[in-house]
């Protein structure tokens, strides 16, 4: 094979390698970027209340923050059990969303879906869901159950402050939700 042919072959190999490196870099970025929201929120996984990350008058790392919306978050890891996120009923417009690195936003709901006692959502893995189905159902548990695409992720609550005078109420309400890991009971 001539030198030129070898060079052309090497260039073709370089192009194929470039394509592989490009695709790999794009696919692994959500797991390697230190700026990812999931990475920044790791410290909130031990908190039982959402931690404020943005809102009226709040310093934030969020790009393009909405100054009229209080945003609070808690991260979770389903290794210990399902994750329950609950809000109390409120007159202020609020929404809750669940995010993971690989799937992005996998569930979101506004307070229109609330019962009289507020939003109650349990996030679990498919395995936990299968075990849960075998357990005797609790009569008073009307939580919405969501199967997470990954074992770890984070929940976001947004509370809108339509008027400046409601800013403090929105900030307080965003932090009043509850986020706890509730291990499943063993089947009898």
């Amino acid at each position: 094979m001539s030198v030129f042919a070898r060079f052309v072959l090497a260039t073709l190999c370089a192009i194929i390698l470039a394509a592989i490196a490009h695709i790999t870099a794009i696919l692994v970025m959500p797991w390697t970027s230190a700026n990812h929201a999931a990475e920044r929120l790791v410290a909130t996984s031990t908190a039982e209340r959402p931690q404020l990350i943005s809102g009226p008058g709040v310093e934030t790392w969020l790009p393009l923050p909405d100054p009229s919306v209080a945003v609070a978050a808690c991260a979770y890891d389903l290794a210990e059990g399902p994750f329950r996120f609950s809000t109390s009923s409120s007159a202020m417009m609020h929404s809750v969303s669940f995010h993971s690195r690989g799937a992005g936003v996998f569930f979101a709901v506004t307070d229109r879906a609330t019962s009289a006692s507020g939003l109650d959502i349990v996030v679990m893995t498919q395995e936990q869901r299968d075990i849960f189905e075998t357990l005797p159902a609790a009569e008073d548990d009307r939580a919405l159950r969501v199967v997470a695409p990954e074992a770890s992720g984070f929940a976001i609550i947004r509370v809108l402050s339509p008027l400046s005078s409601q800013a403090q109420s929105a900030l307080a309400e965003a932090q009043q939700a509850s986020c706890v890991i509730e291990p499943l009971r063993e089947p009898a």
Partner: protein, 222 residues
């Protein structure tokens, strides 16, 4: 040996070929090593550079446009593409879920001219159905003015409307009557219109012209 080479030219030629063959082999090996290193370095560098280049700036896929406004509805759903996912990872942004709302961004006016803080703009018309909406101005670096006199954001609950329900918001560095927002300090800026709890999803249908406020540039006297 010296005698054989000097006495038999044919044998001498064979001997020289034998002597040069390993040198040619070494040259080929060195060339092969060089080409392998070239392919690996150029391939990896080009692949990584193009990946990081793709995740700078606007989301490359899934843009939906209505008048001067752009939205990326797939950001808040499981249909998000890998590039957008990588961009969110790099920026740290947390998009609105599809069930929460949708955000629109404008970087130009209705005639396609970049938004300039030396100009006065009028946003006029209606907004798509939503429980609430907010309108916020960001500077070229994505920062919002803060402080009690910032006037960088308005909500649907704060807006003054005319008798027909239409709204008119003036964006200017100078005080204006009615709904007024102060343009950011950087030359270029962007406007974000966020619809909260809206039936507009962008995945099944899209907005007709006139569904969003027009952005009209007035004077640019600074």
């Amino acid at each position: 040996m010296r005698g054989i080479l000097s006495l038999d030219p044919a044998r001498k030629g064979r001997h020289e070929r034998r002597r040069f063959r390993p040198v040619a082999g070494k040259w080929k090996s060195a060339l092969n090593v060089f080409l392998i290193v070239y392919a690996v370095i150029v391939g990896a560098a080009a692949g990584l550079y193009s990946a990081f280049w793709m995740v700078e700036g606007e989301y490359p896929f899934g843009r939906r446009q209505a008048q001067a406004w752009n939205a990326w509805p797939q950001l808040g759903s499981r249909e998000i593409d890998p590039y957008a996912r990588a961009m969110l990872a790099r920026s740290g942004d947390i998009p609105l879920g599809a069930g929460e709302g949708l955000s629109f961004h404008a970087f130009v006016d209705d005639e396609g001219r970049p938004l300039d803080n030396a100009c006065t703009y009028v946003l006029e018309g209606v907004t798509p159905p939503a429980r609430y909406w907010t309108l916020t101005l960001y500077d070229a670096r994505g920062r919002v003015r803060t402080g009690p006199t910032a006037r960088s954001s308005l909500t649907s609950a704060q807006i003054l409307r005319d008798e027909s329900g239409q709204m008119k918001i003036t964006l200017s560095a100078r005080p204006q009557p009615g709904n007024w927002l102060i343009v950011p300090e950087t030359d270029r800026f962007q406007i974000a219109l966020r619809l909260y709890d809206t039936p507009v999803s962008g995945t099944l249908s899209w907005l007709t012209p006139g569904s969003l406020p027009t952005i009209i540039r007035e004077d640019c006297s600074g």
